[in-house]
Amino acid sequence: MIRLALKSLRARWPTALLAILAIALSTILFLGVERMRSAARDSFAGTISGTDLIVGARSGGIQLLLYSVFRIGNATNNVSMDSISLIEKNPNTKWLVPLSLGDSHRGFRVLGTNRAYFERYRYRDKRELAFDQGQEFNDLFDAVVGSQVAESLGYRVGDPIVVAHGLGRVSFAKHEDTPFTVSGVLAPTGTPVDRTVHVSLEAIEAIHVDWQSGGPKPGAATPVERIRAMDLTPTQVTAALVGVKSRARIFGLQRAINTYDKEPLLAILPGATLQELWGLIGTAERVLLFISAMVVVTALLGMVTMVLATLNERRREMAILRSLGAGPATVAGMLALEAGALTLVGVVVGTFATTLITVSAAGWVDANYGIALTQFLPNTHEILIMAAIVLFGILASLLPAWRAYRLSLADGMTVRV
């Protein structure tokens, strides 16, 4: 019987193949979206770790997180160095890394910070930053570039670079006379660090020596030697990453910063704000999941349509089976079996293809989007989804099966077509 059903299916292989293909593709889409979703969530949550608080000028928590960690958007205001020193001196503070943002280098953001940054910044389960080449910045005009910066601009240690004030890919006001040298290239992290040029806080001040109220000072540029002689101690920074001595003190310190009355400051817990931000993005994620679920439903409907459409031309087949002693339930069962088999094969093919695609694209996705695809084999959640698809396929096949049952009851052995 099963052999016969398979033969019958093989006789209609072009349509059967298309139905399988549609189900396989929809399975790939569904599993792919599901995997990208969880991988994106993990990568997203892994952008910053090991930092207890992020401090910036008072604005929104998500905004602070976006510009300090993701290099998206800008700070509305800066934080005075006085306040930063106060926080640093707080008995609960273990370490503090100042961040100064607002400049760019050929479309990549420039981050002013100190050397502690390379030691304190952690991503994905407390992984540390590592150098592919070179080392931290030692000189005033040293710069450490992220892996993507180095790759797309072709930088190596020792190359001279020019840092521009302001953002944007093409900057009119380049500080031609304050040339930097690449002192180090960081290993890829899959975080915004890869797209950042790191310099010292003093270097940020140096860039702005010839600037005044947002425009270049008239007159000749200040020579490098004179800049080196200047006092470049920064008076303000954009934000700061803070580590506390004991986790129990986080909230105390956060409250102290948020209620500080000399300057409006905001301290956020990165993990909590990441969750909040993900909650916003999550809507799109759910829409995506919903769409791919609909694609699966569409593919199954297509399969059922195919089985239904062949039903009429198979009435003779069904009449022959009836004449040989097959009950109408057997005839209906054959159709359900067919639809179930098509769905099962489609899902299995789709799962294999998904695994193949994730394995082969994992490196590329990580390098280009910073999303680590670490899961290659289906997990229990996905197996449940796959089982649900097959179950739904069999359920949908009950429709043609029921039609076949009715037809073969009415037709008996004679086909009145």
Binding site: L4, K7, A11, I320, S323, L324, G325, A326, G327, A329
Partner: protein
Amino acid sequence: MSKTAIELQDVVFRWPGAGQFQLSVPSLQIAAGERVFLSGMSGSGKSTLLALVCGITRPDKGTVSLMGHDLSAMKSRARDRARAQNIGIIFQSFNLMPYATAVDNVLLPLDFAPDRRELVVQRGAPLEEAHRLLDALKVGAEDRDRPARNLSVGQQQRVAAARALIGKPGLIVADEPTSSLDKDTERLFMDLLFAQIEEAGSSLLFVSHDTSLAPRFDRSISLSEISRSGNST
């Protein structure tokens, strides 16, 4: 084996929802091994009678027995099994699964009739029996493994006969099996069919409107003689 292959007694049947059409057969008997020619005008209820004999439907009144089993008392699954077991059916056309080979078509009834399979297996492999039947019905060895749709109409009908005969069912029902064949092919078909039915010892109920075939049979009956059909009052 019982002495009668088919026995109808006081049968009244009306298709559900099919208007007023009604068939009543007061009495019809076909003995075991008997070859009966049944003629009737189209619309006289031939299909209905065959559906009753084959257990596709159940009479509203009266009894239908097949090999001594009372079909009219059985549930539909039991009637399906009885049909698989005891009857080989040859239609006018479209007898075969077009994508399956001649041999596979011949072997198909055995999937539904364990007793017939048993009988075949006792005498050797089912495949051998299928080959033997196809040989006897002059379907060449080169055509055995071709898909049925590639065979000529005459060959297809002979494959259908082989399929009806495998496992030696007690009754062969043939519903106008030669109406799509020309005279020569028809003669060949009838000769081979009769020879094999003889060998299998089956009864034959042969339905046709072509009465020129009737003299070959043990008995010839007309549906209008044994039944009343038409619009009931």
